[in-house]
Symmetry: C2
Subunit: 491 residues, 2 copies
């Protein structure tokens, strides 16, 4: 490992941080818990955003922007909501600085104190429902299908790049409906969109399920989740979709006149995925040599590295590369040509391995003579010599093959890390030694859930949507149960 990164076996958390920092995804900042997303990381995030945004629009949603700041009193309107978020709110109390009367620098101007403090949004249900109140009068105004791409702030004590940061980026959809059925259908539709995106673009298999009451979003009637499994056997909640019932409509008094001229409360959903997905991408696919970015999200799908000893050779190679590149780009393939002369080919090979570029093509003077290129796959680290003339036919299928292969590999890891436990001793043994998802019976009580969490650090990731009914007994209490739920330690 010439790249000075920890191996997964040695130190998984350190390996993760090394990849994020050294591959140029993100960096620490001067503000505790806030990160800088660097250009390479941001380019991946943009690709994620573009795919999701297209899906949101195709299902009738529109983007909008609501204020960053929320009056403090709004949080108290919905009892569970404030309970869930009050402890992690960044609070704006003043609106002006002044020169320090004692000398240098600036201090907060004590005369510029806000009458009511403002909270930097940790999520936007309250400010949005306070706005929807003005937008909704009649059934004709429904549904409202709005999404926003935004930054939010939750004051976290322990942070990790992408996985848990004080400021993070996400999209939050907030919809309003005339009926519960329609709102539930929306909640499920968005969960499906998330799952499809994660599996087909991120190449991360996910399990769709419902959260238990104690793991629900603060203010939700039902929280749906998509759960992924990382290589270290820990789960990651990849996205959530909430059926909010009429909780926010009641808290903000949002009623509409129905077709039957009755005044009814509106039904709500909200749903979001965040830059946390970047962490999953690293942890599901990366290896000890660096990132592996699935082709459909890779900023560069192909990198071309020239092998040359002098300017003449480089000029000849570049001429050929320009042809190749143009032809591949015409197919919509994202190609990067790295002809910098201050780094050796070996250094570049390492660099693009670290950055996880799916396909690397190397071309030297001998290749020009013979009409060949060397094609290396990042996922399998295999190399082949190809006829240059076949690139145009073979690169796109290769990228698709890598995409599929990454998904299958991740699915295999998940399957190998999925266990069934029928008694608590075995359950504890799996959680302590092997990790992964554990399918087990649970009696449905918050008490049992809390006890298991306390004793094993494993939480119920979800009650899977597609699980069969099955009679059993709770691994902890021995009480009867109708369905297995999925336990795991989680990020």
């Amino acid at each position: 490992m010439a790249k000075d990164i920890a191996t997964r076996a040695e130190n998984y958390p350190e390996w993760y941080n090394d990849l994020v920092l050294k591959a140029g995804l993100a960096d620490y900042s001067a503000v505790k818990g806030c990160m800088v997303i660097k250009p390479y990381g941001y380019a991946i995030w943009e690709n994620m955003r573009d795919v999701l945004d297209r899906r949101f629009k195709d299902t009738g949603h529109q983007n909008a922007a609501f204020p960053l700041l929320i009056p403090k009193s709004f949080f108290s309107r919905e009892a569970q909501h404030v309970e869930g978020f009050a402890k992690e709110c960044a609070v704006v109390t003043h609106y002006r600085l002044m020169n320090d009367p004692d000398g240098k620098g600036v201090v907060v101007d004590p005369t510029a104190k806000l009458e009511e403090e403002l909270i930097i949004r940790p999520t936007s249900e309250t400010i949005i429902w306070n706005t929807y109140k003005d937008w909704i009068q009649s059934y004709r105004d429904l549904p409202i299908l709005i999404n926003q791409w935004a930054n939010v702030v939750r004051w976290e004590m322990r942070t990790r790049l992408f996985l848990r940061t004080t400021e993070f980026f996400w999209q939050e959809g907030h919809t309003a409906h005339a009926t519960a059925e329609e709102a539930i259908a929306e909640t499920e539709q968005m969960l499906d969109i998330y799952a499809e995106f994660m599996e087909n673009f991120m190449a991360v298999p996910v399990i769709k399920g419902r959260k238990t009451e104690s793991e629900r979003f603060a203010g939700a009637v039902e929280t749906y989740t998509v759960e992924g499994l990382m290589q270290d056997g820990k789960a990651l909640q990849m996205g959530t979709s909430h059926f909010l019932g009429q909780n926010f409509a009641k808290a903000f008094n949002v009623q509409y006149l129905s077709r039957e001229s009755k005044l009814e409360y509106v039904w709500a959903t909200s749903w979001g995925v965040s830059t946390r997905m970047m962490g999953a991408l690293v942890m599901v696919h990366g290896d000890d040599d660096g990132l592996i970015i699935p082709p459909r999200l890779a900023p560069y799908q192909v990198v071309i590295v020239p092998i040359f000893k002098n300017d003449e050779q480089l000029a000849l190679i570049t001429e050929k590369v320009n042809e190749i590149r143009k032809a591949l780009q015409a197919q919509g393939i994202r190609v990067h040509y790295d002809a910098r002369d201050n780094n050796s080919p070996g250094w570049k090979f390492n660099e693009y391995e670290l950055k996880g570029v799916p396909v690397r093509i190397a071309i030297g003077p001998r290749d020009l003579e013979k009409g060949t290129v060397e094609v290396a796959r990042r996922d399998t680290k295999t190399k082949e010599i190809w006829e240059m003339a076949t690139l145009n036919d073979r690169v796109a299928p290769l990228l698709e093959e890598i995409q599929t292969s990454l998904y299958n590999r991740a699915l295999k890891v998940r399957e190998e890390s999925s266990h069934y436990a029928d008694d608590y001793a075995r359950f504890k043994e799996i959680i302590a030694n092997e990790g992964g998802f554990v399918y087990a019976h649970w009696d449905g009580t918050a008490e049992t859930e809390a006890k298991i969490k306390e004793e094993t650090k494993a939480t119920i990731r979800c009650i899977p949507l597609d699980a069969p009914e099955e009679d059993g007994v709770c691994i902890y209490s021995g009480k009867p149960s109708k369905q297995r739920v999925i336990f795991a330690q989680a990020y």
Copy 2:
């Protein structure tokens, strides 16, 4: 004016607000000075963003994301910068709420006070240069060409939708260079990109120029600006591009080892345009019937309205419209078909006039028989009957014609509102009565500039880049001057 909007002649500011609110661009929010950008407004902003983003990337820039919050002490590092922004900073002092011990609601937890207060970024030079310090060691690390699309907060006392809001959206480019020449070239390049975008997409003619010292960005060596003229004769600063010299490099101690192995301070630029441009779009093109959105930025370029008396008629029309729509969409034209049955065609005509959709096509049963449609232009409010079969050939050219025509109309207004003043009496008369741009000689001193501003509310919008040298005397002081500058009252 059935739409219940003020006319420009009656009350220009009210007309502006009516258009923004009633056409669905934006709304007020519960937080003083912060707005909600509604879906229709946001769709225009997305189109602006996509065009600009493409141009930034084509000139080698990459997007990234830096923290929303900036340590207070960072502002004091650059003396002019803190002077410029200290008075309008939103300050985060606490990071937790708690239940109000006196009863209901939540209060700020006094024990959760930050050691150092954090400022919500009003602009990001300080946090970014503090980061660049870690990224730049050698000339090999330069240039850094980064942009971010972000929200910023400046605590404004008097706000107006889009034109001046407490929170606004913008892009801010921040680049680092090895030489002053390269940084100046970057500053000029970005100004050109802005001007090209504004003229070719917004259809707003702009004047490129330099700001006077007193109007410069806080911390800049030179500020370039693009200035537009609104229909009421007031100027609007549409975007700025700053050459920052080595000011921030020195403030944050950012040095690089040159090719000659000497330690040198880095040269900087920053440049930005914001949601303010939305205000210009409204004010330059709108008329007393509503918005007029230039086709290249219009979320819908064409709206099709069916004229029908019953479901059978609607079904027949819809069948035909689907063909038309498909053919137009295949050309990349953005088409909206409004077949809602709860609003009359007349209501829809009004609505899409208000929203400024460039082209409206109406189709009724008689049109089906005759193979015709009614095509209405929003800019000229003219209507024509076209053969249905010609739509495919004629719509795209019509959109281009509207685009050009809007630009020419705006240019004509600007030319008619551009004046030359050679003495102060005439100058005051123009500013007081006609408004517009006034080209006048100025002695180059901040004192004269301040006096003129105090007496007439007119400021120097810019020292135009392309103005000829011309001997003259300052309208105020009578001292010699070599070039006319442009004065105007401004937003």
